[in-house]
Amino acid sequence: MTELRPHFHEELAQLESDLVLMGEQASQMIADALGALVRSDAEAARAVIDHDDVVDDLYLAVHERWLATMALQTPVAIDLRLMSVILHVNSHLERIADLAVTIAKITELSQGLPHDPTVMSHLQEMGDIVSTMVRTVMEAFTNRDLDTALSLPEMDRPVNRLNRKMVRKVVKLAEETDLLEWGVRMTVVSRTLERAGDNAVDIAEQTAFLLTGEFREFTDASHHD
């Protein structure tokens, strides 16, 4: 018994390895964007924004090679599912990196504004969870670990909860008008982190599809948890 399509399967492995690299970059960008926000570090925020070009280049390279592989290799079965998953995960990771850029831009815009330490600590907590979610789901994908993939909605739950609390906190900040602008900007950061968490859950759904052959959404946007 021999491997009949080594070149094709090497190509698949290379695409997957590029995705893993993107996952590391995206996870780090979320962590770095939050670090810059918490320290009010404009230089670190600019570094996050600049780093997005690296992820964009990876995204385009994966997309280009994906098209060629589909056209030339006509994958089937587990290979076809992996190709479908690669296309989705590529988009989700590129989106997560873009969301990190959004947070970094808000950090730049928030320079010099007074801030509230409680709100900041909530955002830091959300950022830590989301960054961990991205790392965890990429490990689940790489290790073909269904149980870990299925655990992502549970990891996402506190992110959603903190995001919902954020509006109430900012309404309270309205009593202190000098904090209002900063507070409104932080609701956008909170919402952005919540979206990044959802993208990680979407990657977990793709991982489950790869392993089971059946696609189902773990959570439904129309149902609150």
Partner: protein, 295 residues
């Protein structure tokens, strides 16, 4: 949409009922939808084929459904062609071949003692790997079968209809008396398909029908098959997995098992809707084969 199950054809030596004359409701499957449960044409139950002491096919059970294209795939020696040849009793022509188990054709035991293999082949046409037209005119190639069968209607109309269904009429209508050998390989194969359907079979068996053709001729045959399945049920053996994926509604994957005696024998691993086989097969052996991980 409902389907009317065909009455059992008469396969005895004389006065055989023409299956194609039995009115039926045709359901054309939409490939984006699950394949409809069309009535069965063949029900194969624990089919075993021996050539002398060689156990070629072991315990194959599957159903071939009406107005569907069923593909038989698998590595060389897996028994897919042997199974195909059981459907029109072609193995009878091999002296040492022995068939056991059962093949019901419209509920009739195909290997029953009263069944005449010649009548079987009138209902179940066959197209071979290499185009094999008779050394006759295009017209006579198509008219040959119906003539032998005593067809009494308009032969011109029948020839035109068969060539039209085989997507060849427009290319040959002005040279019907010309030699079939003057046609290209792809045209010759479509002529053989026209010849096979001229006797109004209800099943067409195809054994690697495009493997000797160039890519364009191959695509024409594949496209033709999609039209033919509105009127016929098709069983195709192919080495080309992508061809099976492109044309068929259901796919049977065969492989070779090593018997305790060290003898190699063909077995059916998995039989399911083609979209399932090529996206999420149920058996690892199917997945390993179609993804090229093991050969």
């Amino acid at each position: 949409m409902g389907n009317q199950v065909a009455e059992a054809p008469r396969l005895a030596g004389s006065d055989a009922t023409d299956v194609a004359s039995v009115p039926m409701t045709v359901t054309v499957s939409d490939r984006s939808e699950p394949v409809a449960d069309n009535p069965a044409i063949f029900e194969v139950d624990r089919l075993n084929v021996h050539y002398g002491d060689f156990h070629a096919v072991k315990d194959v059970s599957l159903g071939i459904r009406k107005n569907e294209i069923t593909a038989l795939i698998g590595p060389s020696g897996c028994g897919k062609s042997t199974v195909l040849r059981c459907f029109n009793r072609m193995n009878d022509l091999i002296e040492i071949a022995r068939v056991s188990g059962s093949i019901q054709y419209h509920g009739v035991d195909l290997y029953g003692p009263e069944v005449d293999p010649v009548q079987v082949r009138r209902h179940i046409g066959m197209v071979f790997q290499k185009p094999n037209p008779f050394p006759k005119s295009i017209y006579d190639n198509v008219a040959f079968g119906p003539k032998i069968a005593g067809f009494e209607g308009s032969m011109d109309d029948l020839v035109e209809e068969a060539l039209t269904k085989a997507a060849l009429w427009d290319e040959v209508k002005d040279k019907l008396e010309g030699s079939a050998y003057a046609l290209s390989g792809g045209q010759q194969q479509r002529l053989c398909i026209a010849r096979a359907i001229a006797t109004s079979p209800d099943v067409v068996l195809m054994d690697e029908p495009a493997s000797a053709l160039d890519p364009i001729a191959t695509l024409r045959i594949e496209d033709l098959m999609q039209g033919l399945k509105e009127d016929y049920s098709i069983v195709i053996v192919t080495h080309n997995m992508q061809q099976a994926a492109r044309v068929s509604d259901r796919t049977a994957f065969f492989t070779v098992d090593m018997e305790q005696t060290g003898q190699r024998t063909g077995v059916l691993v998995e039989f399911d809707e083609t979209s399932k086989i090529f996206t999420n097969p149920g058996e690892k052996r199917t997945e390993d084969y179609i993804t090229g991980r093991f050969g």
